[in-house]
């Protein structure tokens, strides 16, 4: 079986700034890829292109067997099969936790309210906050909000999960509870691309680490090798800064 995500020479510009520079990447089913790199290196743009929040300008991008062009129709092919978790959670503040969870399944997938609720409770159990179901997101802690966001993404039963710095907006003591949930997902075999600075998580969960800088993938390595003997000067420098603070 071929890769579920395949990027060939993908480039993306913001005005004259090249955010992605001829990126080649393959992710196979069930694989967990951690993307790291300094800020502004294009990691977020990479996952945002896969989720179609950004349109790429050059190259081919194939996700779940569909070639994605900038024609809106092609992104509908992967609708709700690729789910995303954001740095700022982006929960809907006017809806209760439960309503946040069932909105996608009922409106986008056409599930009945009852089925959607069953599903929502199941995933709330999974992220370990069933007791918060009726609260508004604003009353939850950052870590709880991010777990709700993960549950919301899971409610669509996606085939690929994308995480865009899921713990960067969290207080330190809440990072672990969110990473634990993501780690559980990883163990269950979900295909995921995680943009993160949490190197401990990369060590534990990743099949592969990708290091990016200035819109290019500089290094692709197994986590063990990446941390022991990074191949480029740039990644050595980056690891020094991240790990030895």
């Amino acid at each position: 079986m071929g890769p579920v995500i395949e990027m060939r020479e993908v480039s993306k510009y913001f005005g004259s700034f090249k955010a992605l520079n001829s990126v080649n990447l393959e992710v196979s089913k069930g694989e967990k890829v951690v993307v790291c790199g300094p800020s502004g290196s294009g990691k977020s743009t990479l996952v945002r292109c896969i989720s179609r929040l950004e349109k790429h300008d050059e190259g081919t991008l194939e996700v779940l067997g569909s070639i994605l062009t900038n024609d809106e129709k092609t992104s509908r092919a992967i609708k709700s099969k690729v789910s995303m978790v954001f740095q700022q959670f982006n929960l809907f503040p006017h809806l209760s936790v439960l309503d946040n969870l069932i909105l996608g399944p009922t409106k986008a997938l056409g599930l009945s309210r009852k089925d959607a609720l069953d599903r929502a409770y199941m995933f709330l159990e999974r992220v370990k906050i069933p007791e918060q179901a009726d609260k508004k997101p604003g009353l939850l802690s950052g870590g709880q909000q991010q777990r709700v966001a993960i549950a919301r993404a899971l409610c669509l039963e996606p085939e690929i999960m994308l995480f865009d710095e899921p713990t960067s907006a969290l207080d330190p003591e809440m990072i672990a509870e969110v990473l634990d949930v993501i780690l559980d997902l990883a163990k269950e075999g979900m295909t995921m691309v995680v943009v993160t600075h949490e190197m401990g998580f990369a060590r534990k969960a990743a099949d592969r680490v990708i290091f990016m800088d200035e819109g290019e993938i500089l290094e692709e390595n197994t986590p063990t090798n990446f941390f022991k003997k990074p191949q480029t000067e740039r990644s050595k420098l980056f690891l020094n800064q991240v790990l030895n603070y």
Binding site: S80, S83, P93, G104, K107
Partner: protein, 258 residues
Amino acid sequence: MNFCIRLFIVSIFLLLAGCSGESGNWGWYVIDPSTKSGWTNIKFLVGGFGATILVSLLAAFISIILGLIVALPSLSSSWILRSCNRIYVEFIRAIPLLPMLFWVFYGLPVIFKSLGLQVEIDAFWGAVITLAVSDSAFTAEIYRAGIQSIAKGQREAAQTIGLSYFQSMRYVIFPQALRRILPPLANQFIYIVKMSAFASVIGMQELTRRANEIVVTEYRPLEIYTLLIFEYLVLVLVISFGVRWLEKKLGSNESNMN
């Protein structure tokens, strides 16, 4: 309205100065409920409330819907749609209410006639159309500002859970924007109520028109226009009170929001 405000100030001034109409006395008898003619006058004047309220409500209702229709293209990524919105807003916003009222009441029937259509525009519908269209440019801007104030991440999250553009508007963006849109919309409604006084010049029997008619027969402008001002004051205060209540209700519902 300036005219009315000045009159109000002048009347207060005159009252303080102890002088009044030509006879040297206030002529409150024209609206004295204890006399038969005074009571008839009051009933006639207050009878204008119905028309003023109906015109304002209808105009506000149409403006709220029309404004939304006008606002949606402004949020589009297509520059053609965006310019349609800009042109409408800039053009309509630039027309003073009174000339527009004349144009609709006297001009529009001519256009219909030349097209071979038998469409009558009476004073009532002339006023409703003018107030609604004129106000829609402002409501459209209020909608645009309200919707644009919702963080981009909300729209993106809606997109990643598979919602279409209209679904994300309907379930995610609009309910959040509403809380911010409501206070300025209420402002516009008060504005419509006051501007409906212009309908008197095309002969609609609303508050101002009725006041003018009594002034012509009784020649007691000071007393009658003073009453007129208080009529508008009562109307606007009732609206303000209602809006406060609504805002409070909505606000307390969403106090859990970030």
